[in-house]
Symmetry: C2
Subunit: 569 residues, 2 copies
Amino acid sequence: MIHHTESQLADSRKSGTPRRVLIVGGVAGGASCAARLRRLDETVEILMFDRGPYVSFANCGLPYYVGNVISNERKLLVASREMFRERFNIEVQTETEVTGIDRNAHAITVRNMRTSETRMERYDALVLSPGAAPIRPPLPGVDLPGVFAMRNIPDSRRIRSWIADHSAKTAVVVGGGFIGLEMVENLIHRELSVTVLEKLPQVMPTLDPEMAVPLMEHLTAKGVGLHLGDGLARIEERDEGGLVVIAESGTRLPADLVILAIGVRPETTLAKDAGLVIGPRGGVVVDAQMRTSDPHIWAVGDAVEVQDVLTGQDTVLPLAGPANRQGRVAAESIAGRATNFRGVQATAVVGVLGLTVASTGASEKGLRRAGVTGFEKVYLHPGHHAGYYPGARPIHLKLLFSTPNGRILGAQALGFEGVEKRIDVIATAIQFNGTVHDLAEAELCYAPQFGAAKDPVNLAGMLAENVLNGDMPVADWLELDRTDALLLDVREPDEFVRGHIAQAINLPLSQLRSRYVDLAKDRDIWIYCAVGQRAYFAARFLTQHGYRSRNLSGGYTTYKALKAAGVVP
Amino acid sequence: MIHHTESQLADSRKSGTPRRVLIVGGVAGGASCAARLRRLDETVEILMFDRGPYVSFANCGLPYYVGNVISNERKLLVASREMFRERFNIEVQTETEVTGIDRNAHAITVRNMRTSETRMERYDALVLSPGAAPIRPPLPGVDLPGVFAMRNIPDSRRIRSWIADHSAKTAVVVGGGFIGLEMVENLIHRELSVTVLEKLPQVMPTLDPEMAVPLMEHLTAKGVGLHLGDGLARIEERDEGGLVVIAESGTRLPADLVILAIGVRPETTLAKDAGLVIGPRGGVVVDAQMRTSDPHIWAVGDAVEVQDVLTGQDTVLPLAGPANRQGRVAAESIAGRATNFRGVQATAVVGVLGLTVASTGASEKGLRRAGVTGFEKVYLHPGHHAGYYPGARPIHLKLLFSTPNGRILGAQALGFEGVEKRIDVIATAIQFNGTVHDLAEAELCYAPQFGAAKDPVNLAGMLAENVLNGDMPVADWLELDRTDALLLDVREPDEFVRGHIAQAINLPLSQLRSRYVDLAKDRDIWIYCAVGQRAYFAARFLTQHGYRSRNLSGGYTTYKALKAAGVVP
């Protein structure tokens, strides 16, 4: 993060409130900044430039336009040039590229893409909101007709046309992250047969591997082909027409259509050429007022590095919500107001063929990557509402928290209903540096069709409290194959018979009080049930009777996911 | 709230951890307390008594059992006597009434309701969880056959039988609060024709009157009769069979079935007879460890007074979530652990025929009743998700906050989707003493089918920030008929023609920049549009051009609700 010296800022303040503000990039962050600035200052001149034909379009809606869920392209246009002029007296120049910044002259070079004419535009303040570009790996065939990456409305329009013109029946989506999976949903909606090619052994890389398992099972159940742990090698045209995606393993995936959804890369050419500081994550470096290393230049949105409030590390996070807030902060900073961008916590959601996947804060692998130690986790699988009301469906939830202070570090959740609600609540608690104790005593909406007297959020907090205060020591699933502890399955015999961990013995909770004396006291006991509740009861009982017991968090449900993810053998 | 002296507590501690704990009342708070206490202490003897035939049943599910949404009565039984014995070694005695407490002897009198036999049971710690009883006003006819109040499974079973046996076609529900409206939904589900008789001029008394308007419109649209502002006088049998409910006004409402859902009253007979301190709100007074004025007796659930964290006042709040938490706190206190009940914030939700109504914290009328001044409010009506994605439906949201510090005081919301999610997020922010600034910068889940880049929660926070920092001074709707301000409607002419506030003039936002000079500068200008956004833009413009402008929060949508509620003339 940039820290300006007082003299630098004093120098920039000397010039007073900027009279002429130029904004490069008119989507999300740029458009937010422009509108906010006008509301703060009627006198400043505001010009916004965009390379594309539109500004302020709903880029998060593009996959749904491909899927024809959004059938009218105009719906994607949140605000038009005319609206910017009429409402805000903001001049918008589309199909206009900004090709250079002369920081000494406080001027940018602007090229009209229709006429190729260039000119200089002077600024008092400059805002860069260039976004991030889809990564197109330099591999053979990625530029073939029928291979698409998606960034703007014309891109989606081309995909729509391609599907229609070629009666496309099959597609390969390269990359199983947010955009990739949204494309999967929408191509399925268009009745294409879809295969995902993903280099990692899981989809949705923001999730921990075991949490991605229910999602992968869901995709498979919906007929989506998953080709994981294999990268893209090249794409070729088939003699009989259509394309074939060739993976690094040699696997050949035929497709009428290929979507590259490998990820995005901050657009920093302009900033880099102008000598602005670029960070190690490849984004423009800014301070908490979104000011770059040049105090007359601000940058916002997908192109900047921002601080992750959980790890304290700088990151790039291409999400619309933070981009909008950054645009507001930049506007406030330019208008001379006290303002501050508080950083990001990576709250995100994706809907995939009926399943909702949401997360906030750090993942376990993210914490390990950041070198964070001293954390613990719990798994739970509560119904999305009270079990006695019909239709309750499980939410798979993982909560990560610091030890011993219980600060919430992150949460991941999957399910069919009420998933993003729980993540939003946990995200809010994270915003306040909340602890698992706060989750335990959160007072949330409860009626039987909406939640439970102990909401999944409360349960997650209570479980974590039990871990923290020693009431429920947890065993690490990863040590399952190296422990010499007795593995105790406390489910009923019929559940045990239908599937259990190989070395486990079965002593149902319902018989534990009468039969516990058979257990050896000199041995550690690791306990599991279906989801963790009965194991917790059993562990409390055994601990108080002098046994050394631990709970395997999340029970057999979590075990199966860990096993499917290859995390436990 | 009780504050025990150190010597009182020292005295109670002298006896050490209680060896015998008796719990009176086996639902919600009592059952939670029992199970939690066992998990904390295997050695203590725990007995739980209940007057009814069941313990630990889902009383929040009772209306849905009447409605046959829950068709199997067993679903309502969360835990059985057997489960308490097997899992927790807790003895449950049902159909057993506790008739007296001898505090000196540390003993209660217990009556077996089947045999009428009585006996004494000694305690080291006693927990009272008697709940609250439905109010049956002492009016003629309230005990007639066909008139029901609902508290337990046998009550609901009787209502079900009555509907079946009498082929009931019409019902009157007396009382339009949570339980009343849940009964309405379920009786409609049973294809009865339903009328609500409510003494207040609104349903859902926890809402401010204008916020209840969309709910009342919804009920009316669904064919529910609303007879408001009229109390129950008596109930009579009709000669031709069936009943007739006679209101104070003399209005006669025939019905095959009458439900009394007027409210509940803490059950305090036992506590009162034992000389425990009862508070001004009629509940048992307890400290933050749920201990009554007798240090050997705890009380939890609907029968106790708890502190409202927003007003600081004591209140009774019959909700299952807090009751469960109180049961846990009592168990922890009895087990000698440090624990604390943080108070309540009245987070609640009800689903009514597809509409969701939720709230947390204080209402405006609640604040006024509590004598709180120095607060402000905003109204907004955002879509429940991004407008460009099909199917967005409005959420009507009211946010109350302190001035000038912006602390969130309460929120009310109605809509068809995503309503309780927003209230849960705001409830969480309230838990942390959050401000509207925190709401503005909350990082919540966004994908087009789930939310918006600026979520309704963000928008509410931003609007409130605008009010607090003077960017958007708001005018009070209540002063609409006494102001001499110019009333400016900035919607488009076609919207204006379809309905507007009588004295308003129309100058659309789209023409404001070219025509504003026609406005007189020496006059206050109060601005409105449909929901508030365009008015805000107009107000920012005019203010910066030297006009004294204010925004009428929530626009014409809020105006219509206020007018329908009789709040504005």
